[in-house]
């Protein structure tokens, strides 16, 4: 696995997610959602390293910001939706 991607409804929500994770000491990278998984068209997401996922989920839970959709990017370049 290369990284996990939190898919967010809006740029601003994605920025809140990224800011929350950064405050928890987790490197988080804002990105446009790949077209293949952006259900309603353009969207934004936040990438986190695989080993930090449990911490990231706890940080978001503490902040009252449950992930909207979560995907894993596999080594072969495909995305797989994951239940948080």
């Amino acid at each position: 696995m290369v990284y996990y991607l939190f898919v967010c409804r809006s740029l601003t929500y994605a920025q809140r997610v990224a800011a929350t994770l950064e405050r928890a000491g987790i490197s988080a990278y804002l990105t446009r959602t790949p077209r293949a998984i952006a259900g309603e068209g353009c969207g934004h997401g936040v990438k986190v390293p695989p080993r930090r996922l449990p911490e990231a989920l706890r940080a978001l839970d503490r902040a009252g910001m449950p992930p909207q959709r979560l995907f894993a990017l596999e080594q072969n370049g495909s995305y797989r939706e994951v239940t948080a």
Partner: protein, 376 residues
């Protein structure tokens, strides 16, 4: 120039405001429309501004801070979200045309909660009488743009919550110098310009949206989100922010917000009240000058109106302007406020202050106004 027209726009800004806006022109593209560095720089700029506004203005999450062109735009959005044709709406007697014209255009049934000047308790009592179950919303300015009268919005918000009536607060003259607390008040919307007491550039404004407030767009278009749908997104801020943002303006506004936060709204209000007290005291001594001031001072912000019995208000403002003192005269786009105060026939001369005015400027203004009052 001695600039005493900050109720229209603060002309003197913190130096960082212009610097940030100029920088944004060169480094920021469209937020949310790409993943390249310039788009991300724009996204970071907008988000930083949202966060600064949310922190200063009592908004629990920055998604409920919506960027607008000015306070009028923000008020139009708020009113369109809550009011339909024929709806009964209660407003204070001190509202600006930015409130009354949208209501007239919608065909709302407007009921005015009137009361004497500088009688906040009277205004509250009038609202209490008019806020009956069929009323769709209440609208109240936090501080009159003509007279500087502070309205008791916190108590009004409590009353509206008790009666289940959504409240829109026009914070055009209060944001930056009086406490604004969207979530604490439980208001549906709070609207404000970015270019007055928040010291941002013109072309910026904010609409703070309550957590449960219904929101209806006035503009439709691209948001960089949910692009396959032909309806506007159903989430904030995207639902109310179609099209490319004024990123240079927001970069400047962020610096203005930080300036206010560093200096403290209370300190800015205290400074403006000190200047108002000097002006009120000085004007009261002049012959043929009628001053509209709160004698105790606590019911008034950094705005003061007066009129000269022997000189038309517009002529007085022009005369002062020729001597490099900038004031505003006339009806101040608020005929309802003048009607309530009994000054509709004459209008008033208005002076209004910012954090950058000095007592010396007020003294110079008083010297000139004395000449005017005594026949020049």
């Amino acid at each position: 120039m001695i600039y005493l027209d900050s109720a229209a726009t603060t002309l003197q800004k913190p130096a960082r405001v212009a610097a940030a806006a100029a920088r944004a022109i060169h480094v920021c593209a469209s937020p949310g429309r790409g993943s390249h560095r310039a788009a991300m720089a724009a996204a970071e700029t907008a988000f930083a501004c949202r966060q600064a506004a949310a922190r200063l203005l009592g908004v629990g999450d920055p998604e409920r801070v919506v960027f607008t062109c000015n306070a009028t735009h923000a008020l139009n959005l708020a009113i369109a979200s809550l009011v339909s044709p024929g709806d009964p709406v209660v407003i204070s007697g001190w509202e600006h045309n930015a409130v009354t014209r949208p209501l007239a255009a919608l065909g709302a049934e407007v009921r005015v909660a009137s009361g004497p000047l500088f009688d906040g308790g009277g205004a509250l009592a009038a609202f209490a009488q008019l806020l009956t179950p069929e009323v769709k919303c209440a609208i109240c300015t936090h501080c009159s743009n003509v007279f500087g009268m502070i309205l008791p919005v916190e108590a009004l918000a409590r009353l509206c919550r008790q009666r289940g009536i959504p409240l829109i607060v026009d914070a055009s003259q209060s944001a930056g110098c009086l406490p604004v607390d969207l979530d604490g008040w439980g208001a549906a919307f709070v609207a404000m310009p970015g270019h007055k007491g928040l010291y941002g550039p013109q072309g910026t404004g904010l609409l703070l949206c309550g957590a449960d407030a219904p929101v209806r767009p006035l503009l439709y278009g691209g948001t960089g989100s949910a692009s396959l749908r032909q309806e506007m997104p159903d989430f904030l801020p995207d639902r109310l922010e179609a099209g490319t943002h004024n990123i240079p303006g927001l970069a400047g506004l962020r610096e203005g917000l930080e300036f206010v936060a560093r200096r403290g709204p209370e300190a800015i209000l205290a400074h403006e009240r000190e200047l108002v007290a000097i002006a009120r005291e000085g004007l009261t001594q002049l012959p043929g000058v009628e001053v509209f001031g709160d004698s105790l001072g606590l019911g008034q912000g950094g705005v003061l109106s007066f009129r000269l019995h022997s000189v038309d208000c517009e002529e007085a403002a022009a005369w002062l302007g020729e001597r490099r003192v900038a004031v505003r005269a006339g009806l101040h786009c608020a005929p309802l406020a003048h009607e309530t105060a009994g000054t509709l026939d004459t209008g008033t001369v208005r002076i209004s202050f910012s954090a950058f005015n000095t007592p010396g400027e007020v003294e110079r203004f008083l010297e000139l106004t004395e000449r005017l009052a005594r026949g020049r």
